[in-house]
Symmetry: C2
Subunit: 383 residues, 2 copies
DNA sequence: GGTCTTTAATAAAGCCGGTTGCAAAACAGC
DNA sequence: GCTGTTTTGCAACCGGCTTTATTAAAGACC
């Protein structure tokens, strides 16, 4: 009640976001007049907002450009290199790390195949930074993807892939070591988010993400946000008994007979191996009922499927979609599309979630949207 | 760009809502000073806001009360009787209608058992109004619940219960006739919403609603909003083939052997009929897998189950929860609770959705929350 | 080199929304 | 009729934005 109104600051905050977004659209430094025209704000307002942004350190003024007639205008530039954001995917067989600048542009990438451990996370980030001469003291946030059920506090409640990390305060350890906030989430959920924001599900709010490899994993993005669930079990279909391929001891583990792993079965089927094709169709028929139920529960706009590489995936998509279609009474069902980001979806989701959760720490202003399109764009071009 | 700022009006709008909410809390007329203290707004602001509300016709000033010492203050009162909102549940065997005032208080209720038709909707509303001397010209909005797949435009795309109403412009017809906007939605979805907002799921954002009667119906409320789905099929588990009890021609229709309807089976099982009990347990085991999948997809906070009356429901809850528990690997699963609103959940959901969708028409201001707790409260006390 | 043109930056005034503070009004009670 | 209490209404001010006007800085032209 001391004269401070929420509404006014909200308005200013929104304008800060608008100006920063406009600047981030383009690499060029922009003059106040252009920003004013582009955002619809008045010139004095743009000036005031830019002052804020310069104070926050996310924008800098360049020297007046001495071109054309008239008084030369100072231009303002989004300092993309002003901070770093990292993403790490710690899986059972190794670690992937990626480092982006404030614009979401990828600056470093590392992949290490070692036994997963907390120290490996740090090792990967430091290796990536060293290889590209990046100063990790400028790291503003880190996102971490783990295979398993991740609690709200960032700890693993259960994990088949990383049993030795269960209940450890990983986020706190990393945060202390690197001096930046750390966000942790489940790997498949983050992959789904990345695909929805900038991958095969781009443009849709509701996406079901299927990953078929060593196990069948499902994750769901609804209204543009990861569905977590009360017990963080949303999408954990592997937690249900009675799936034929879970007869061995490993919970939710897929058991393949014609080849050791799902990816290899896919590859063999794509190559024409009839035993693999039979197993694949059998497999599709088995999971189709489950998937059909999922589709009828959430009725998403698109189903993104990931499994192996593009080549092998084609061998999976058609039989899977056909098997699901057979389960449904209505002709309406969402299209099945191949993942666009592949296995990198997880790391990219990790970076993105760091932006999502610590946006105000990263940019110094509130409400700036995460640069998902650039985070995921890099991937699509290099692929 | 002509000098009108969005931020300022947003602020004013929020304050209008705050003041109106404060007035609606209590039946008494309140003085400006009390409102100011209660909302935290300053006195001049409250005054300005009240002027807006009086203009909108939703608040009226009473004569200065000549009590106590000092200058008598005018008091302001929420005119709950200033408008009416109706809800209608048109089912295969009849219609239910309810009329509320602006505060969500129930003023009229009617139930007619006739062949469902568009004219029956009007008939029910008019009967309810006439019986209670209500002037339908003051009707501000109407919500309509229909059994079937309801399109975005309010028409039925498919319906087993009301096949003759498919594709008819029902909403337009009613709107023309009654002169108010009409919102249409699926009956089970509206029931789920009512239970989540003010019934057995009150206080939870994520609710799965199961209705077991002539057919098995599921509806889901996530983050406090009904899950609709891309094709409006969210929750339509009946659209999946291969459920044992769908062997007869009727799609999704439950087929009971020991008794003709599910409710009667429940009643018989509750009364100790062993044949019915066996069929019930068999039934639970059959649907448990499906339900377990639903729970693992959305991982809700609570499952609200409706079927028959309270007595019979107890016979269902335990075996159902046990059967689902057997399907799950993790011990965590949401509690199963009996519906609090029973079959009236549908009508109440219809009224509530009218408030939700046409709130600004109803109150003349934007952003005023629907009076769900009062809409649903009436029910719990009369039951 | 001085004036002119062109454009940017700044300053001033006004609107809208909100708050605080103070004087005036209206009534009860002595 | 005066005093006291409480509400009211008005003025002043802040913060944010816009519009308009003024000043500043560079190049262009004679």
């Amino acid at each position: 009640m001391d004269g401070v109104r929420a509404g006014a600051q909200t308005e200013r905050s929104a304008n800060q976001v608008a100006c920063l977004q406009f600047l981030a659209e383009d690499d060029e430094a922009q003059t106040v007049g252009v920003i004013s025209a582009g955002t619809g704000l008045s010139r004095p307002t743009v000036h005031a907002v830019l002052d804020d942004l310069v104070d926050a350190g996310v924008v800098e003024a360049t020297e007046p450009s001495t071109a054309g007639p008239g008084r030369p205008a100072r231009a303002f530039r989004f300092v993309r290199e002003g901070g770093l954001v990292a993403g790490v995917d710690l899986g059972p067989r190794g670690v992937r790390a990626v480092i982006c600048d404030l614009s979401g542009r990828r600056l470093a990438y590392t992949e290490l195949q070692k036994d997963p451990d907390v120290s490996l996370i740090l090792h990967a980030v430091r290796t990536a930074a060293d290889e590209n001469d990046l100063d990790l003291t400028r790291l503003r946030a880190l996102g971490l993807a783990l295979a398993g059920v991740v609690e709200t506090d960032g700890r693993l409640r259960a994990s088949l892939a990383l049993p030795h990390l269960v209940s450890l305060p990983i986020a706190e350890t990393i945060a202390d070591e690197l001096g930046c906030p750390v966000a942790v989430d489940n790997d498949i959920k983050l992959a789904a988010l990345a695909e929805q924001r900038g991958g095969a599900g781009r443009g849709y709010d509701d996406v079901v993400y299927l990953q078929i490899g060593h196990r069948l994993s499902v994750s769901i993005v609804l209204n543009g946000v990861i569905r977590q669930g009360r017990h963080r079990l949303a999408g954990e279909l592997g937690a249900q008994r009675g799936m034929r391929w879970t007869r061995n001891a490993q919970r939710g583990q897929l058991v393949w007979t014609s080849r050791p792993t799902g990816e290899e079965v896919l590859r063999a089927a794509a190559a024409g191996d009839s035993a693999a094709q039979v197993e694949l169709e059998d497999f599709c028929a088995q999971i189709a009922a489950r998937i059909a139920t999922v589709l009828l529960v959430v009725d998403p706009e698109v189903v993104v499927v990931r499994g192996g590489r593009a080549l092998e995936l084609d061998a999976l998509l058609q039989p899977l979609e056909a098997a699901v279609e057979k389960e449904l009474v209505f002709p309406e069902h969402p299209p099945f599309v191949a993942s666009a980001l592949g296995r990198e979806a997880v790391v990219l989701g990790a970076v993105g979630t760091a932006f999502d959760r610590f946006g105000s720490d990263i940019y110094g202003i509130q409400g700036y949207p995460s640069p998902w399109s650039r985070i995921t764009h890099v991937e699509r071009t290099t692929k």
